[in-house]
């Protein structure tokens, strides 16, 4: 696989930057931790300066200088337009229909954008107990659209997920509508190898763009279902110098801060 030495950037960097490009200044994003958080903040620091980032801890319109380790780091509150209580966050801001993009990661994902972060194995007797859904069940249904980011692997991208932590397109087609869900659901999947969009009718995720240097075979080899590729397949533009520098500076600041005592020791 390609890496930073060959192309000047890593697949994970490409994933984060490709995700950041999907965001606009007038978006209101409900941000999950990890790759979604990095992508949202790169967007804010590059082409979407007025984007509204919301973390489920209650911080609205936040602009952290370093990426938070948790969804409730102090930095998020200190830089926010306002910080509200958690019930208000879920009632007025998420359920109220104010979120344009819900940004989720996934431990297990199927081709219809259904996500599992709850258990591997049987729910009552799990092989591995994962952290669970947190805000995801309602982020997936109340946000106007859902973007998903994850690094590809056969273990992660599976034919059948073990548990429906959050609902994507279910069994595909109009399954959302049949459940009374009137939002669009997953409209974009950005992995470390490709950009995927749901088929307009079946809602199955289809590769529409390959990242630079990535082959169709690589995408299929790291995915547990038979991948559909668009007829006109794009190549994702490589990260620009500004995008890469912005992401790397952000991650360097973050790493320093997350030593935990780095700031404190200066005192």
């Amino acid at each position: 696989m390609s890496d930073a030495d060959n192309l000047g950037f890593t697949p994970n960097e490409m994933m984060t930057i490709a995700a950041s490009r999907a965001l606009r200044s007038n978006d209101v994003c409900f941000v999950g931790i990890g790759a979604p958080s990095a992508a949202c903040n790169v967007a804010r620091l590059t082409h979407a300066p007025d984007i509204t980032l919301i973390y489920e801890s209650g911080t609205i319109g936040t602009a952290p200088d370093v990426l938070p380790l948790s969804i409730g780091d102090g930095e998020l509150c200190e830089t926010a337009v306002t910080t509200v209580a958690v019930p208000e966050m879920f009632r007025y801001w998420l359920q109220g229909g104010r979120i344009s993009i819900g940004f989720l990661g996934a431990a297990q994902l199927d081709k219809f954008g259904n996500i599992n972060t709850t258990v591997i194995g049987d729910y009552a007797h799990p092989k591995t107990r994962l952290p669970g859904g947190g805000g995801a069940p309602e982020i997936a249904t109340s946000s106007r659209q859902v973007y998903i980011t994850m690094a590809q692997s056969k273990r992660g991208m599976v034919e059948k997920i073990d548990f429906f932590t959050s609902f994507g397109h279910g069994e595909g087609g109009d399954h959302r509508k049949r459940l009374g869900i009137d939002t669009a659901g997953p409209t974009l999947l950005i992995t470390d190898l490709a950009i995927w969009k749901p088929d307009p009718v079946t809602k199955e995720f289809t590769v529409v763009s390959l990242h630079p240097g990535v082959s169709l075979e690589q995408v299929q080899a790291t995915c547990g279902w038979t991948v559909k590729f668009a007829e006109a397949l794009d190549e994702t533009p490589a990260p620009t110098e500004l995008e890469l520098k912005t992401l790397r500076d952000l991650q360097a600041r973050t790493k320093a801060a997350h030593q935990g005592t780095a700031k404190g020791k200066a005192a």
Binding site: S57, I71, C77, H125, P137, T141, I181, A267
Partner: protein
């Protein structure tokens, strides 16, 4: 009416074996000192409620204190899994525990309903989600005007809620600020509330009128425990000890190492030790 008590007495007077208890905090203001005191006093058969059970719940579960947990995200935030909780759920070690799992929206609405004196919360949730099938406490009601089917969950009404807050005034009113999470609801939903604070000030005369202040008659006991939320943080006092969260992942991975750590840092320790733990996390003035 509220009493100012040493933490040991505040916990002993308000928590009992078999209680349903919430130690709330949403990343910020986690009441670690209160949970450690509960561990030292060795309570059993607790039903532990929290939206985001993290290190202190991993610790209480690992010490065998929990009969059941009610939660929406059982992880070490930003780090990964909770290994003692996993051991209990997957292997029944040190004891099997019952699990009642919700989404954040479900828990937040359930606390809100508890604070509001309602028997249940009604919201738009769980559509297509697997939890609705495995949790019998997720039901529905139908809007009598539109026919829309909405989710319903029972209100959360803990026997006792513990929170950590910035400060109390001498009358026992309590200020919570920054990421305020679900703390106000958790206090108002509970039969009894115990608050640890960083400090006591003479009065709140200069506070902005719209801040989150819990009147003294809503609280049973206040204990002054500087640093009492470490390794979580207290906005305005000290920062989150992110390194401690990363380190916990290794400590909790091993049953023996966990026990050794708990004995050194909890059992043979006291509430007074928290002040020292946050010294290096206080911001330069």
């Amino acid at each position: 009416m509220v009493k100012f008590l040493p933490l040991k007495e505040a916990v002993a007077q308000n928590l009992h074996d078999g209680d349903t208890v919430a130690f709330e905090g949403f990343t910020h203001l986690i009441p670690t000192a209160a949970a450690h005191e509960a561990i030292r006093q060795g309570f059993r058969d607790l039903t532990l409620i929290r939206m985001t059970p993290d290190l202190i719940y991993d610790q209480m579960i690992g010490m065998g204190m929990a009969r059941k947990i009610v939660f929406s995200y059982v992880g070490n935030p930003g780090v990964g899994l909770l290994r003692r909780a996993r051991d209990a759920i997957e292997n029944g070690f040190p004891r099997a525990i019952e699990v009642e799992e919700h989404s954040h929206a479900g828990m937040a609405n359930a606390y809100e309903a508890g604070a509001a004196g309602l028997p249940c919360a009604v919201f738009r949730g769980y559509r297509g989600a697997g939890l609705a099938a495995v949790n019998p406490n997720i039901k529905s009601v139908t809007c009598p005007f539109t026919g829309e089917v909405l989710a319903a969950v029972p209100a959360i009404r803990p026997d006792v809620t513990f929170i950590h807050a910035q400060k109390a005034d001498r009358k026992g009113n309590v200020l919570v600020e920054g990421i305020i999470g679900i703390q106000k609801e958790a206090v108002l939903a509970a039969k009894r509330a115990v608050v640890t604070v960083e400090e006591v000030v003479d009065n709140f005369d200069d506070l902005h009128p719209n801040l989150t202040v819990l009147p003294n008659w809503t609280i049973a006991a206040i204990s002054v425990v500087p640093g009492g939320s470490h390794p979580s943080y207290t906005h305005g006092y000290y920062e989150r000890d992110n390194a401690a969260y990363l380190e916990w992942d290794e400590i909790a991975a091993d049953r023996d190492r966990f026990q050794a750590w708990m004995h050194k840092n909890v059992i043979e320790s006291s509430a007074e030790d928290f002040a020292g733990r946050v010294e290096h996390l206080r911001k330069a003035a």
